[in-house]
Subunit: 355 residues, 2 copies
């Protein structure tokens, strides 16, 4: 079966900070994206909206999108809570009627919607719910501690700061150092890119750690390094449970701390006065090492900054400041050379005693 | 509708440490329990097995249980992972056939089992799944920070150390001090006892904090103190995500740290060499205050010990040692006077500035 050619739905929200799944598909799978639907950003290219993605067009209507000959539709934004906006139903039904598969990372599964399911069955198209967990999961019990591979988890000061992107950027560099590296996807976008994984925020709460453990046990046997995609933040009240379950279930021996340099407050509450200030990076390093220690002692190996909204000079200064504040290697692994973080992980991986 | 009269199924596992739901029903609802089914412990009374529960008999067969004239069956143990043991299906079907309601706190919902559901519908009996979450939940956003009531969460060194029991014991004492006190249940046993609540370990992982927030917002308006039932442990890799989500969603200003004095290792892994050592109480106090602080600064107000397996002298020594180690009030609120913890909470509640 050929790779899908996606029309991405990101209506009203296509932008650097607001459409994570769409943006990652454009960054990592550009050859599979024919266009993006967003009436607000239409008439521009992905390059103009995001700063990458070249000439992939942003269109105003679903019919303009269909004219680009997609073979599938991808729902490219994930609103808080994951509910499907009512107005999108018509687009999804029209897509099914045209014989397009529909891919979704929403919490509300398309295949559980009776109208979508029956229409898709009648048309013979697939509804791919990236977030639907596998049917059998169990409670974690520390098995991930004893794998031979070096497990490295990305953690963050907030949601949507670059935890997945950092790991994808580092994976290439680690392979180049001769380390067999596997990326373990834990969210719908990572699963879309990697082709496997478990959306840990969609499992029943008791099984967060178990899902993380299962991913590590699956990835570790043919790997020297397993890069586990982090989720949420230990200080984000909406998602901290997912974050800690992932930390304790995956038992990483190393962590990469991710942060968007310009962000001062947890960002999900833009409709309200910001209220949850992000602590300094040094505090976050201590918090993560302290929270990890009872189950599996773990070190923050470096800082991955996201500086997309800063000037070049500001970004360089932010990197230098993060390194000085924490005494750890730091870089923006998208904008600058990821080598400082690759070096830190590779050195740790090569210097470990044989199991 | 009259209160149910329960026959509790705890086959093979009725004991002080192994049948939490059964034990709490016997402790808090003894007038509603006609007997307990466990062929291993049969012929004894609850008093003999648990140290409380007086003459409630333990029976060997389901028919002996039916002879006690229950109006409902309660599944009284919750195995790791929550799967229903296959051999119990026959008992449940026999109970339905006799017209008994079936109450369950298992992860696998009875009402989702086609055979149980159709048989129950035919017989007109109810299948009560205590763990089934309400249909509408959302992501938490810190609203629980601003309630007027003092929110106190019980936290623990491990699962099954007495987090629910401590809160229930303290609730009575706080009422006696003139503080309107509500117990917010977060697990199936607490829900059984309190008659309301949400099993936070059964919600989709993204909504742990939201479920906790919803409970606090529901309990707070008519209360001076809201005692939130804790779940899991921040250091238990199987359940730490639930624990942190509950901490950040409920935004307690005070915590009660619960510990079983004789326990040195996380207890769920009895089939393996123990591997996860419980840190000293002082470390646990710091860990919880550190984890809480970014969202809502919170203090551990006292230590609730569970000393059921110690002699009286050993228990007194354990209480004195916990107080000395932490500099906090300590007691076993079941075995001894809960006053030290009641005092600590009441003093904090009365000394807070008006909102």
């Amino acid at each position: 079966m050929p790779d899908p050619r996606f029309l991405i739905i990101a209506e009203g929200a296509f932008g650097p900070e607001t459409s994570k799944t769409a943006n990652s598909a454009v960054r990592y799978l550009p050859e599979r994206v024919v266009g993006v639907l967003d009436s607000k950003a239409s008439g521009r290219t992905c390059q103009e909206v995001l700063g990458f993605g070249d000439a992939i067009p942003v269109v105003r209507t679903i019919d303009e999108g269909f004219a680009l000959n997609p073979t599938a539709v991808l729902i490219g934004i994930a609103p808080a809570g994951g509910q499907l906006p009512a107005e999108w139903r018509g687009w999804i039904l029209a897509s099914i009627d045209r014989g397009l598969d529909v891919w979704s990372g929403l919490h509300t599964y398309l295949a559980s919607d009776a109208e979508f399911a029956s229409r898709a069955a009648a048309k013979g198209v697939a509804l791919k719910d990236l977030r639907r967990p596998p049917p059998k999961l169990s409670v974690s019990d520390g098995k991930a501690k004893s794998v031979d591979a070096l497990v490295v988890l990305s953690v963050g000061s907030d949601c949507n700061v670059g935890k997945m992107t950092a790991q994808l950027q580092l994976a290439r560099g680690l392979e180049a150092r001769g380390l067999r590296t596997r990326f373990a996807a834990t969210g719908q976008t990572g699963i879309l890119i990697a082709g496997w994984g478990i959306a840990v925020d969609a499992v029943v709460a008791d099984f967060i750690g178990g899902a993380a453990e299962q991913l590590v046990l699956e990835a570790a046997p043919d790997a020297d390094v397993v890069l586990v995609e982090g989720q949420g933040s230990l200080i984000h009240p909406g998602y901290s449970g997912v974050t800690l379950g992932l930390l304790h279930g995956s038992c990483p021996k190393g962590m990469i701390l991710c942060h968007q340099s310009s962000r001062e407050f947890i960002g999900d509450y833009s409709g309200r006065t910001p209220w949850l200030r992000i602590p300094p990076l040094g505090e976050l390093v201590r918090l993560h090492e302290y929270a990890a220690a009872p189950v599996q002692p773990s070190k923050v190996l470096g800082i991955a900054l996201n500086t997309y909204d800063l000037s070049h000079a500001e970004a360089e200064a932010a990197v230098a400041r993060a390194a000085a504040e924490t005494g750890l290697p730091a870089t923006d692994p998208v904008r600058f050379d990821p080598a400082p973080l690759v070096d830190a992980i590779a050195t740790f991986a090569w210097s470990r005693p044989p199991a």
